[in-house]
């Protein structure tokens, strides 16, 4: 699994081993950051190179010198031996994905993010053929109160990217995760619980970071035809993150 935007390798640079390949890194880089900079794909959902790592989805779990670690939070060390694309690790990632699918209501056939959705693309990448577990089928009404954006909580995977974008970039704190454990859920910062009663706007960074289909710009729907969507031509492992060069 490799991506196409490699950075040049300086011979004096420290390196580590990822799935048998020598990967250069700079001090302070996490495993996934260094891997991305070298065009190597490690499956992930809550990680976005534009934001501080969160380490919550665990999809990016690897073994680093024999111990499991989230590659988005584990800093790279010289000569570290990292395994990512192995059957045992991919089996665990697939189980995590299956749990995400059954905990929410993910109807890919009628979802406008289909083809652009990182959850769906990662599931394809890891050859997830069925949800395996019983569906929770939670009752999660939509929030369509905002004039320009809609929240479909059915698709939330609790990655917190919207919350991080809103607080770290927009300085607004529109989104947050509330509750604990299996009851953790996304909320917006308004007494009514409605997006229309927050200071959210379409210019916010938070409006554009959802890796699934929770934060939806209204009335766009299926304007992009099949064949032109993010993951139509190439799998997610061969589709560089647009901001990866900035890492």
């Amino acid at each position: 699994m490799s991506q196409n935007n490699k950075t040049p390798h300086n011979k004096n640079q420290a390196t580590f081993i990822l799935d048998g390949k020598t990967i250069p890194f700079t001090e302070g880089q996490t495993i996934i950051q260094a891997a991305m900079a070298s065009g190597e794909y490690i499956p992930h959902l809550c990680f976005n190179p534009e934001f501080k790592p969160h380490g919550s989805c665990k999809i990016c779990t690897v073994t680093a010198n024999g111990r499991q670690a989230a590659s988005c939070t584990q800093q790279t060390q010289a000569d570290m031996v990292v395994e990512s694309n192995t059957k045992p690790i991919n089996d665990e990632r697939r189980a995590l994905l299956q749990m995400l699918f059954v905990e929410g209501n993910h109807f890919c056939p009628s979802c406008e993010k289909s083809g652009d959705c990182q959850l769906q693309a990662t599931a394809y990448e890891l050859n997830m053929m069925s949800p395996h577990f019983d569906h929770f089928s939670p009752d999660r009404p939509l929030d369509s109160s905002h004039a320009e954006y809609l929240l479909d909580y059915n698709r939330c995977i609790l990655c917190s990217l919207c919350a991080r974008a809103s607080s770290d970039v927009d300085g607004k704190n529109v989104f947050s995760l509330a509750g604990r454990g299996i009851k953790t859920h996304l909320i917006v910062n308004a007494k009514s619980g409605k997006l229309a009663d927050t200071d959210f706007t379409g210019d916010d960074k938070a409006a554009h970071v959802c890796p699934v289909g929770v934060i939806i710009k209204k009335r766009v729907g299926f304007a992009v035809p099949i064949g032109k969507r993010s993951f139509d031509e190439h799998p997610i492992s061969a589709t560089p993150h647009p901001k990866v060069r900035d890492v």
Binding site: L142, I216, G221, V224
Partner: protein, 499 residues
Amino acid sequence: MSFALETAANPENLRRVAIDPVSRVEGHGKVTILLDDNNKVHQVRLHIVEFRGFEKFIQGRPYWEVPVMVQRLCGICPVSHHLAASKALDAIIGAKHLTPTAEKMRRLMHYGQILQSHALHFFHLCSPDLLFGFDSDIAKRNIVGVAEKHPEIAKQGILLRKFGQEVIRLTAGKRIHGTGAVPGGVNKSLSIAERDELLKDIYQMVTWARGAVHLVKEMHHQNPELYNSFGAFRANFMSLVGFDGGLDLYHGQLRARDESGNILFEGVDYRNYTQIIEEEVKNWSYMKFPYLKSMGKEKGWYRVGPLSRIQNCDFISTPLAEIERRDFIEYSGVMPMHAPLGYHWARMIEMLHATEMIKDLLHYNDIMGSDLMVTGERGFEGVGVIEAPRGTLIHHYRVDENDLVTMCNLIVSTTHNNQAMNEAVRRVAQQYLHGHEVTEGLLNHIEVAVRAFDPCLSCATHALGKMPLQVEVLDAAGQQLSSLSRSSEGTVSTPLSAP
């Protein structure tokens, strides 16, 4: 109300024969027949046993999802639902007139759908009955048997369908369940390469489609006794016709004729369909029974689909199909053709028309245009009607100010034909089963009558919350512990409580 042979007076002493499931149709249905000791028929019913719920779970969803979501009603003619919903939602976003590119791309998609669905139905599902005989060897009575005995016919059928699916793929993005139509237009046009890919084969498709019309026409001429009388009954019929009275499967206005061919109404704006159509619910089927309000339940039931459309329009705009339509009308004589097997002939004329329309559309530069969508003044209610392969398809939605669907009503083609299909199977049961020992071959006669309508039973069972239901809880010995009934009016009762 109840029709002849719908409900036996004393069913408790009768023998029950079930065809379950009816084969070589889309979806799941069954026919039950009640016979007495002398094999005399007392009751025949076509039951739809699937239970779905699109009208309910579409509520609360954003309107722009609808054309993609509702097409999951069906895997055979999803394009029809996709387009009917898109037409309805055009009104929600105020798109009164589509761009020439959008209009032609949608039509191209639709005629691709008509072609592939009609080819599938005639060649894959029905030609085994027509080529080998209704009670022929069951082991050979299938598409594999056709491929062995009539390889050229089988090949043409398969390639005609494949071409239709390619038209759908290039207009909607996928052969099944694409996304091409969106409220206000389409999301893509054809590239030059895509246009040329279709142009390369379309002339062959027109030739083969014409051959299919001649094949089924010859069957009628060779065996008029069978083809003119099998399961025949008289009925009103309804369809869209173009604003000029010609055959138009994508857009137009509603016209209905009585059993003699006299016009009952015409020029009806389909947005007013609730003023002319009412639906009756019966407690033995999940499929509703529509009828024309003005004529009442007893006289107002009607037929839709190819047999209605070909006889309802004044002309067909494409020359080869028009020649065949005139032949059909001439063969029928003064009275319209009511025989169910006439559906096959009419269906093939439509398939020929679809290939001619595809050919014509491919010669417009508009299909490669870039002006894809329009919007206008926001609306809150929309009705979209299209002539799907199986007949008139009605989609009706209401949307609130926050863009969420609050109401959805679908009347699909097969539902319109519910009473007509029941009449057909009753006539066939009377003609062929009455007084005879039941055999597989005789039971296939019943299925042949159902198949003639090309019913899509999956599409027809979309409602939730309106159907009468009875739930029974039995103990291990089969004794009823409790039961719960819901009437067609929605009243819930518990006739027997748990001890």
